[in-house]
């Protein structure tokens, strides 16, 4: 067991109030930053999946009744032929009625009412990648066959949603950055305060030949412990949050894996930040002192 026995720190850090409060403060900040990054990632993958599913599709809705349905179906090949003539239209196909019924069922739970409804015929038009097609042109092509068609260009509602998502992502990144800056500031402030409070011990150590690196290592060890506790706290909270929200999250398994990778990388990232910031703060503070030992 002697291998695991650590020699006591040269500084009485344990007796300070900050050693009790700091893990909670830093832990909460790391948790907040993790949430912001996860939120940003979640929105990104949601928008990606929407983009894949919707961005190249327009839908033509042909209102019809049970009586007129057969006639309308018979006219569909003529509609498809018209649409195929438009440059940029890659494929046209009717959305199966079952699928349409499922879409409506999201709002109308009453199955009896649902089965009695006159559902419209929906035609999905797929646009060739990286080509733009005039919505007006598609609508005109459809209106030559059917009088009252309703044209759904998903870009109309998708663009504002994309804008909102981009805004959300921007604020998430800003929040993560601000939180990281506050974490770094807290470490700098805490390290600097410890050096001032324990200046006498710093002087004694320098007097007996301790280099700045030796003193920096002492504070690094302490801040590592604080950082370790903070990261553990943040990880627990993040895992709980993800467990609660992930079942409702629409992203695929791959997206969920990325989320867990982000959470798992937080300790390594934070420990690196804690070590670097503590070391630089100590070396910078001691360099300012020069040879001035006030014992």
């Amino acid at each position: 067991m002697a291998f695991f026995r650590q020699s006591p720190s040269d500084f009485p850090f344990e007796k300070t109030l900050s050693s009790k409060i700091l893990p909670w403060v830093i832990g909460a900040l790391i948790y907040l930053a993790t949430l912001a990054i996860l939120g940003c990632q979640g929105v990104y993958y949601t928008m990606e999946s929407w983009n894949t599913a919707l961005s190249r599709h327009v839908t033509i809705e042909i209102p019809t009744t049970q009586k007129e349905k057969e006639k309308a179906i018979a006219q569909l090949p003529a509609l498809f032929a018209n649409l195929d003539k438009i440059s940029g239209v890659q494929r046209t196909e009717r959305i199966p009625e079952d699928q349409v019924r499922m879409l409506v069922a999201e709002w109308i739970k009453d199955t009896a009412l649902l089965s009695s409804l006159d559902l419209p015929i929906l035609v999905d038009v797929l646009i060739t990648p990286e080509q733009s097609v005039s919505a007006r042109e598609i609508q005109q092509a459809a209106e030559t066959i059917f009088k009252d068609v309703v044209f759904h260009d998903h870009a109309e509602w998708y663009s504002p949603a994309l804008h909102c998502a981009a805004l959300f992502q921007f604020f998430s990144v800003v929040l993560a950055l601000l939180t990281s800056i506050v974490v770094v500031g807290t470490i700098v402030f805490s390290t600097h305060t410890h050096l001032i409070v324990h200046q006498h011990i710093v002087n004694v150590l320098q007097l007996i030949g301790a280099t700045d690196n030796y003193i920096a290592r002492q504070l690094e060890k302490y801040m590592m412990r604080i950082g370790g506790q903070a990261v553990f706290l943040a990880l627990c909270l993040s895992a709980i949050t993800m467990s609660v929200f992930q079942p409702n999250y629409e992203g695929g398994e791959e997206d969920n894996l990325y989320a867990w990778i982000i959470v798992a990388s937080v300790p390594f990232f934070m420990i690196t930040v804690v070590l670097c910031v503590t070391r630089l703060t100590v070396l910078w503070s001691l360099r300012k002192k020069e040879l001035n030992l006030s014992l």
Binding site: P8, L286, L293
Partner: protein
């Protein structure tokens, strides 16, 4: 400069930032195996001179070489390495209160990254030498003034320094303990360490046959009545 010379000072002056001039043109050389009393009234500059010698300050003028290295140009790291060859004892001990007696004495060896076993062995040996082997696990605040001073001496000499500086080491102890401490310093000197001991105690200066450096208004003055010494006042 002679090889093996421990301290070389040539017209060294020290002025604090507030403009107060404390040392004025000091020149002296200290050699290994020598013992010097540093005397002078309060404010004469004894502590400032010792501070220069343990590289706690750089001189504002003149040349100061410690172990042959000009301190005017040493980096912080070089200064740290030079300080490992200097032991310092203060009147107010400067022990680290949350560490045990043994841990305090082991500290210079820990700084040098010596193995825990070697640290323990050397520190225990020193504590035994100063008569504190029973107090290894005790915190300094539980010790008397004399015991604390002996811990400070053990810490100062555990790294076997070439130069030992003591600033009023008997200021906080009774006469009986002071006598013991002086004999400890004498023993160290006989083992080869160059000792510079700042004191107000005329009695002890007269008791030991060692030369005296007398500071007055920041200047070294020859002191009559003591025999010639390895010290050279240039």
């Amino acid at each position: 400069m002679d090889q093996g010379e421990i301290v070389f000072m040539d017209r060294v002056s020290l002025r604090y930032q507030e403009g107060l001039s404390v040392l004025k043109g000091l020149s002296l050389r200290l050699f290994p195996r020598s013992f010097h009393f540093l005397t002078g009234s309060s404010g004469a500059g004894k502590s400032s001179l010792l501070r220069l010698l343990y590289l706690g300050l750089r001189p504002t003028a003149g040349t100061l070489k410690i172990f042959g290295t000009d301190v005017q140009h040493v980096s912080m790291r070089e200064a740290s390495l030079l300080r490992r060859r200097v032991g310092v004892v203060f009147q107010d001990f400067n022990l680290i209160e949350h560490l045990s007696v043994l841990e305090n004495v082991m500290l210079p060896l820990k700084v040098r990254q010596e193995s825990p076993a070697a640290r323990q062995e050397q520190a225990r040996e020193l504590l035994s030498w100063v008569g504190l082997e029973e107090y290894v696990d005790t915190l300094p605040q539980r010790l008397s003034g004399g015991q604390r001073q002996r811990v400070a001496i053990a810490r100062a000499v555990v790294g076997r320094p070439d130069l030992l500086l003591a600033d009023e080491p008997t200021g906080n102890v009774d006469d009986k303990m002071a006598r013991k401490l002086f004999h400890l310093f004498d023993g160290l000197h006989k083992m080869g360490t160059c000792v510079v001991l700042a004191t107000h105690s005329r009695h002890f200066v007269d008791l030991f046959p060692y030369p005296e450096l007398h500071l007055e208004n920041g200047r070294l003055t020859p002191h009559l009545g003591k025999e010639e010494s390895p010290l050279e006042i240039l």
